[in-house]
């Protein structure tokens, strides 16, 4: 065998796996979204655009409303993660402290512990009956009735922010580290305060990291399915939950598939607009 044939052997297994079990299933799902739904079988014969039309043109705007709620949730989660995460990433990128590895570890370990456990922790903290916050406040006689911290958008948001914050911090960290510290010193020597330097120098130059982190958190949020169920029960309905309901409970696969694609396209559009807007804010950088 020639050398180039041999090296192809390195590629083929992975390529086959991805084509067979990633590419084909997604294509299949697109096809599925155009099939007629049926409750007795996976799908009924024939193709139709009814699934998409039903979702988009529903007179109560039920689906569009859920889509909107999902996008809004994504927006706020991303924004808050950025606000919380940027100072953290900046500090970690610049610190010479001995506990640098420990801090890195603090950011990484929640990520690796699993979403269910993290939500469970929040359930313990936010719970209406015996939760940490409500219990403590009651014992201090500060409140009579429990605060509604869970089973609503607030609880779900807390969970989302907590789970996805590391996904914002890590790309930011990489980007900020790539900014030459001498630039900050130059800025300060020219009279800018640390805060001004942060906004005028660091933020523009770490834009790639901001973009990467934002897109990551946004996509994760609009496709998160565990957190809304655990911390919102079915009171907070967003698209992923709806899609899974259609697939698993209602067995309306074509409809579910269509909803999944509507979500994807909406998300894709938002990201596209976001990239175009932010790129214009900082010309000359990526």
């Amino acid at each position: 065998m020639t050398r180039s044939r041999l090296t192809l052997l390195l590629l083929i297994p992975t390529l086959a796996l991805l084509v067979a079990f990633l590419l084909l299933p997604y294509v299949n799902m697109v096809v599925m979204s155009f099939r007629t739904p049926s409750t007795s079988a996976v799908f009924a014969p024939g193709f139709t655009t009814a699934n998409y039309l039903n979702a988009l043109l529903d007179p109560d705007f039920y689906y569009l409303e859920i889509l909107w709620d999902t996008m809004v949730l994504g927006f706020w989660t991303t924004l808050i993660c950025l606000t919380l995460g940027f100072p953290l990433a900046y500090h970690l990128a610049r610190t010479q402290s001995r506990i640098k590895t420990l801090l890195y570890f603090f950011i990484l370990s929640p990520l690796l512990v699993g979403v269910v456990i993290r939500c469970y922790g929040w359930m313990i903290i936010l719970g209406p009956h015996n939760g940490l916050i409500n219990n403590t406040l009651k014992q201090l006689n500060l409140i009579e009735n429990s605060l509604p911290l869970m089973f609503n958008t607030f609880g779900v948001s807390v969970g989302l922010i907590h789970v996805f914050l590391p996904f914002m911090i890590l790309p930011l960290l990489g980007s900020i580290q790539a900014v030459d510290p001498a630039l900050e010193e130059a800025s300060q020597s020219l009279g800018a305060s640390r805060l001004k330097t942060m906004f005028k120098v660091i933020v523009p130059l770490s834009l790639p990291g901001i973009q990467a982190g934002s897109i990551l958190v946004f996509v994760l949020t609009i496709s998160s399915f565990v957190i809304p169920i655990l911390l919102g029960s079915y009171k907070v309905m967003i698209m992923p939950t709806l899609v899974v309901q259609q697939i698993m409970d209602a067995m309306l696969w074509p409809f579910g598939a269509a909803l999944a694609f509507i979500l994807s396209i909406a998300g894709g559009l938002v990201i596209y607009v976001y990239l175009k807007l932010t790129a214009r804010l900082v010309p000359g950088v990526q």
Binding site: V113, Y120, G121, M123
Partner: protein
Amino acid sequence: MALTTSRSQFVGRIFFLGFIVLVYIFLLTPLVVVVIASFDSAEILSFPIEGFSLRWYRKFLSTEGVWLDSIILSLKIALLATIISTALGTAVSLYVVRFAGKWRESLRIFIILPLLLPEILTAIALLIFYYNIEGFFNALSVPLLSGVFRHSFFGLLIGHVLITLPFVFLGISGSLYNFDMSLEEASRNLGGGRFITFWRITLPIVKPGIIAGALLALIISYDLFAISYLLKPIGTATLPIQLFDYVRWEFDPTAAAVSTVSIIFTLVVLFITERLVGLRALRF
């Protein structure tokens, strides 16, 4: 780093540090709370905990093996998925970095696609696909895929491999991109052929990337929810799914005990990674 510090700069610095301390606390509190809750002696979980007890650990270890079964399934899948994706990931990294030429960027994106696409979408796509191809073959009266993918261990494993492979790939290709080719040239100049050079020079130097990628894959697979939820064999559960069901309907702290054990497992793996190759290698 700081130039001369004035009073206001000092105050600003205090606020800044205070802010990030709060964020770190925010990140860690749920985990700490879970661990503490696992020792609660009360029947119904409440916080602050009422007394100290190990009963939930005993309950978890003894309950008709439900928990143990799910842990074993999780570990089995995680280990197999890690081994497969490490093997595939090493091979394809080599190809992409060294031999891919103009296809390099496209291949790179294709391989990490499962990371960029929402996990729930991939899970749904696979579920539908498994049903469809089985139906397809059945319709041809060739029922050879009956039960092979649909709600099977194998189908579940494939889903895990798809998600873990990009992590391994990123870890290894990172090491390979920065690899100093003159080391391989030196080896060849001294008489080592291509294979010996790979075995004695390339592989040992890339090893940290491989180990970091593999350990990360292990943890990720262990924690995967959406894929497992949709693709698992009927009647079984991986640990995250078992936990998910339990915390929704039960209120005793057994879940906390299980979670604590899980947390310890993750921390141990992270610790091993740090000792072996340093946490820096876990960039992705």
